[in-house]
């Protein structure tokens, strides 16, 4: 890590700039529609209640894994829009298998997670295979696979699901008591608990960082992402890298649903969370594909999301406001990073030219 002060200032500049821009845009929108600007920011910056805080952390856990899944693709310049479908079908498959409870307690959990990774990876593998053999854009194929997975899961729920009397929701068989995770009492005074599988998110993050930065495979991946021709020239099997990275992305996407499944829902049903894969894309962008950046972005995202109720109750604004804030932050971040990167480049160039001139001056001077 480079600790030179100018670099630190530049590093901080991008997110600060982005948040400032988002603040201004949102305030303008609020003022334009006649909402109370001051109240909104006060409510947003209020410390959430312990219960809500737990929910923020829990949501962030889910979004974190989804964003890592997306980031794996991004590293290779691949756009896996299918995380949502991979997450859905893998969660359903794992829930189904876990519901049978073939293995006792914790073994059942591990087995279900392996099944989830397998299904997520295989589902993404269809898009990978299409891309490698037929050149089909992964953007198109994964979007289509999302729709297909929704249909398949609906059909699966109908075939193997059950419905309690008087209920309209159909679910898979709930998992046995022994396989349910109590959660961790991480936040004091909260009646609810943080998902135990926040540890899984942590593990995923560490593994992602290690593989991308510390292994030969990670190097190949980054190289192939940076330049196809250069990677091929240096002996990287480009198609193989594409295939592996899409499948890996899908396997991680398969894990997205696990913390909530074992910690809260215990069965897959119609009340399952939708759209997580798409949130993951935003969070990965915001976190710049960096394991720590993604964690901060996931927390920010879910904190904004959980402010929605409070904003409606206390400031009387529409829930759509939160989407506006999220959208403007995302936009501002992308622009801010670009702007700062250019400034950095220009500063570097001028520094280099200054040094060159200085050297010329000294060399040119008569001894």
């Amino acid at each position: 890590m480079n600790l030179n002060p100018r670099r630190i200032a530049l590093t901080l500049a991008a997110p600060v700039l982005a948040i400032a821009v988002a603040f201004v845009i949102t305030s303008l929108v609020l003022a334009a529609v006649g909402d109370p600007v001051g109240t909104v920011w006060k409510v947003l910056l209020d410390e959430p209640r312990p219960r809500t805080l737990v929910n923020i952390v829990n949501s962030a856990t889910t979004y974190y894994i989804a964003a890592v899944a997306v980031a794996i693709g991004f590293k290779m310049k691949l756009f896996n829009i299918g995380v949502d479908g991979q997450y859905r079908i893998a969660s359903f498959g794992a829930a189904l298998v876990a519901g049978y409870g073939w293995l006792p307690g914790p073994l059942n959990i591990i087995f279900a997670m392996l099944v989830a990774m397998l299904i997520g990876g295989a589902w993404a593998g269809i898009a990978a295979w299409l891309k490698v053999t037929r050149g089909v854009s992964e953007v198109i194929s994964t979007i289509m696979l999302n729709t297909i997975s929704a249909g398949l899961v609906g059909w699966g729920l109908r075939s193997w699901g059950q419905r309690p009397e008087g209920s309209n929701s159909r679910t898979t068989t709930p998992i046995p008591e022994g396989s349910r995770l109590e959660g961790i009492a991480l936040i004091p005074d909260a009646p609810n608990r943080v998902y135990t599988l926040i540890l899984l998110a942590l593990l995923v993050g560490v593994a992602y960082w290690f593989i991308i930065n510390k292994t030969r495979f990670g190097f190949d991946l980054r190289a192939a992402g940076a330049s196809e021709t250069a990677a091929v020239a240096s002996g990287v099997d480009y198609k193989r890298m594409i295939f592996i990275s899409i499948v890996a992305s899908g396997a991680v996407a398969g894990l997205v649903g696990m913390p909530a499944f074992f910690g809260l829902d215990h069965a897959y049903g119609m009340n399952f969370q939708e759209g997580v894969g798409f949130v993951g894309i935003g969070v990965a962008l915001l976190g710049r594909n960096h394991p720590v950046g993604i964690a901060a972005a996931a927390l920010l995202w879910s904190w904004l999301e959980k402010s929605s109720d409070g904003l409606q109750l206390q400031a009387g604004v529409s829930p759509a406001l939160v989407y506006i804030i999220q959208g403007s932050i995302l936009l501002a971040v992308v622009v801010a990073y670009e702007v700062v990167a250019r400034i950095e480049k220009r500063l570097e160039q001028s520094q280099v030219s200054r040094q060159l001139q200085a050297r010329e001056a000294t060399e040119g001077a008569p001894a």
């Binding site: 910056l45 909530a260 976190g287 950046g293 972005a297 999301e305 409070g310």
Partner: protein, 349 residues
């Protein structure tokens, strides 16, 4: 440069903590921001939690909102409303219900069966608050302080089914459901029974749009399904598909056939250019259920368990807007009376 975001987040959360420390208890501010109206004579504060869409959907949620507005006017209560965000899980729903309790609500009403599990949990955690859920009567939401408000949709559907059969010239009618769940099956069963009551030989075509909630918000799918039925000779199509119904009306308009609306009086609420194809609507008076629930609390009663709003209670009915059923109104009223008197028992599935 990527580590920076965390630093900023840490800084801002530290700032948040300090700010909050100065802010003190925020439940006081909740109560004051609850709107100044009402509040005299009763300390009831009724709060509605909607699913995505909320007030303004011209259908189910709007009907619930109407009940709340009426309670505000007539019972002089305080009121509050919150709408869901897209892509939530039960934890988020439960948190919403709890936030309403924190905001001082004495009555919390969940609009839609999606709140079932969340409501069951929130009700257990807050035994002093009166909860109500619409369209669910499952074990998941049950509790001593939970009123499960359901409707006899099959009875109302029977009447529009009878109307469809009387108006059909081809002896073929259609039913389009948003999603294949028991709630929507009730509409189908009643519709078919009503049509067969009038004409035992009538053909009823049935189609469900999706396996998940998307079937309630996909006008294009609704249109395709209705077009298919009209092509196969049906001349009246009844939809229980929420927002997808707009497509059904469009198809009816194009085919110069008729359609039947659902939940609210759609000859009034649908797009102006298709209102004339709407024969009648199966009206589900969610507002009645919401109002009654709030009124019970104001009167010092405690509603609990499954409360069914049927034809007799005015929970469901058929609409007469547009005057297209005026000529058969007598017969429909006759059926209505028979159902109320118990002479006709409408099947639920």
């Amino acid at each position: 440069m990527r580590h920076s975001l965390l630093k900023v987040a840490a800084l801002s959360s530290a700032a948040t903590l300090t700010l909050a420390a100065c802010g003190g208890s925020d439940s006081d501010t909740d109560a004051t921001s609850g709107g100044g109206e009402g509040g005299e004579g009763t300390d009831v504060k009724a709060c509605l939690a909607y699913d995505v869409g909320g007030r303004g959907d011209q259908s189910f949620n709007d009907s619930a909102a109407k009940g709340l507005d009426r309670a505000k006017d007539e019972l002089k209560i305080e009121a509050e409303e919150v709408e869901a965000s897209q892509g939530e899980n039960d934890a988020a729903r439960e948190d919403r219900l709890n936030q309403l309790v924190d905001a001082g609500c004495t009555n919390v009403i969940g609009v839609g069966f999606i709140y079932a599990t969340a409501m069951g949990n929130a009700a257990k955690a807050n035994p002093d608050v009166q909860f109500a859920i619409i369209d669910d009567a499952s074990e998941a939401s049950a509790g001593d302080n939970v009123a499960q408000l359901t409707f006899a949709e099959h009875e109302g559907s029977f009447l529009v089914g009878a109307a469809a059969a009387m108006k059909s010239k081809s002896n073929k009618v259609g039913f389009i459901g948003g999603m294949d769940v028991p709630l929507i099956n009730k509409f189908e069963a009643g519709f078919e029974a009503g049509a067969k009551e009038v004409n035992p030989d009538i053909e009823v075509q049935t189609k469900y749009l999706a396996e998940d909630g998307s079937g309630f918000a996909d006008p294009a799918k609704g249109q395709t399904a209705a077009e298919g039925m009209f092509d196969k000779g049906a001349d009246v199509v009844y939809h229980a598909a929420g927002g997808s119904g707009a497509g059904v009306f469009k198809a009816a308009k194009a085919a110069k056939k008729m359609a039947i609306g659902v939940d609210s009086d759609q000859a009034k609420t649908a797009e102006a250019d298709v209102q004339d194809v709407i024969l009648t609507s199966m009206v589900k008076n969610v507002d009645v259920a919401v109002f009654d629930n709030i009124k019970a609390t104001v009167d010092g009663e405690k509603q609990s368990g499954n409360i069914v709003f049927d034809l007799k209670a005015g929970g469901v009915d058929y609409a007469t807007t547009g005057g297209k059923v005026d000529d058969i109104k007598d017969k429909l009223e006759e059926y209505k009376q028979k159902i109320i008197d118990g002479d006709i028992t409408v099947p639920e599935k």
